[in-house]
């Protein structure tokens, strides 16, 4: 099928299947899935400027579907999401500015690539270790360790530190089970997520979801749902910017979304059958996959 906006011929069924896979990952883990969809669209022949913008607007559509399912399941903390949007948008702009500064210095690909590899690898190794320990602890202390309610966190020192920060104003997050937490803790964590979104591209759910769990102490299911809700706002903002610059092929995004819409619902529904540590353990290899893709791009010289 010919897509006249980006001027490429792509099989729409391939796009829909790609959307389905990314939708399942997104609904289950609360990530945008750009680490997979970006390289895939590029390999299907789409110019890279269209890859970035089209992927973002498709992420918005998929996140709407998944977030609605998570809302029905009670997995979205709206107060937390509202505060996080502020930090994400400011962080995203800062990340884009950092990229522009690096472009001027001529070292953008190497610096961004090495940063991505380091960040992804650390998240994957730490997440894998922590969730494995959590599963063992959960098996020893809980009657039904596989129950979705059994959300044990082994490494909670950072979460306790951020929750105890005595900076006003402090708010309660009933949905997340947090009595009091400084708004600045939430803004700081979302700023970091936003920064990496602007710096490394995509929705940065691979950073924000674990950051919510390990730094703020949000239960895994709520972190997944809230992250998806937050992605609608942040990726929506990015999509509008990219569409204005002529980087969005909405037809490709709509076709991909037909697969993603059903995948996102499936992924969201499947979270009911897994406990927090299981979701985190299954999530751990994903950033590593991203790190490998970036490493290959750096080694072969095939940069965006």
């Amino acid at each position: 099928m010919f897509f006249p906006i980006s001027g490429v011929h792509i099989n729409p069924f391939l796009l829909a299947i790609l959307g389905l896979v990314i939708g399942i990952l997104g609904g289950f883990f609360g990530v945008g899935g750009s680490f997979l969809s970006g390289p895939s669209l590029f390999s299907l022949g789409m110019p890279y400027n269209f890859v970035v913008g089209t992927d973002l607007i498709h992420i918005v559509g998929k996140s709407i579907v998944a977030a609605r399912q998570h809302r029905i399941l009670g997995h979205i903390d709206l107060k937390l999401a509202a505060v996080m949007v502020i930090g994400t948008l400011v962080g995203s702009e800062t990340g884009v500015d950092a990229i522009e500064a690096l472009k001027r210095s001529g070292e953008v690909n190497l610096v961004v690539g090495l940063t991505a590899i380091t960040v992804f690898t650390v998240i994957a190794i730490f997440g894998g270790w922590e969730s494995w320990q959590a599963l063992r602890k959960s098996a020893a202390t809980t009657d039904d360790p596989d129950s979705p309610k059994a959300d044990v966190l082994v490494f909670d020192r950072l979460a306790k530190f951020f929750q105890r920060l005595p900076l006003a104003p402090r708010i309660s997050l009933k949905q997340s089970g947090i009595l009091k937490i400084s708004i600045w803790s939430i803004v700081l964590v979302s700023f970091v997520g936003g920064f990496f979104s602007g710096f490394l591209g995509g929705g940065a759910g691979y950073i924000r979801m674990p950051a919510m769990v390990y730094l703020l102490g949000i239960p895994t299911h709520i972190a997944v749902g809230t992250d998806l809700f937050e992605i609608i706002i942040s990726a929506g903002y990015g999509s509008i910017r990219h569409a204005m610059n002529g980087n969005v092929d909405i037809l490709v995004a709509l076709v991909m979304h037909t697969g993603a819409a059903v995948g996102a619902q499936l992924g969201a529904r499947l979270t009911q059958y897994f406990s927090g540590p299981w979701i985190r353990l299954a999530f751990a290899p994903l950033p590593l996959l991203g790190a490998i893709m970036v490493a290959i791009a750096l080694i072969t010289g095939h940069h965006s």
Binding site: I64, Q69, V248, A253, H257, V262, Q265, L266
Partner: protein
């Protein structure tokens, strides 16, 4: 109450099959008519193109979510 995973997976397979048929019809009809109009907007009136992008994506997301929910409801014999 949570359904057994085997039952859920069976329903999912039926839903996917029904959904795929509808998606094919969607490719053939809607995108064929929208394509030239959107391409023209993209080249001639970028601001309207942006508005159309946002409306189409939100509309499709809500529409497909309802469709999938509706299909699931029908396939499960009226159970939510």
């Amino acid at each position: 109450m949570k359904e057994p995973i085997q039952k859920v997976l069976r329903f999912i397979a039926i839903e996917l099959a029904a959904y795929a048929v509808l998606a094919v019809a969607y490719f053939c009809l809607v995108l064929r008519f929208l394509g030239p109009w959107l391409a023209e907007l993209f080249h001639e009136q970028r601001v309207y193109y942006v508005v159309a992008c946002v409306l189409l994506m939100f509309g499709q997301a809500i529409g497909l979510e309802r469709l999938v929910t509706g299909l699931s409801y029908i396939i499960r014999g009226g159970k939510k």
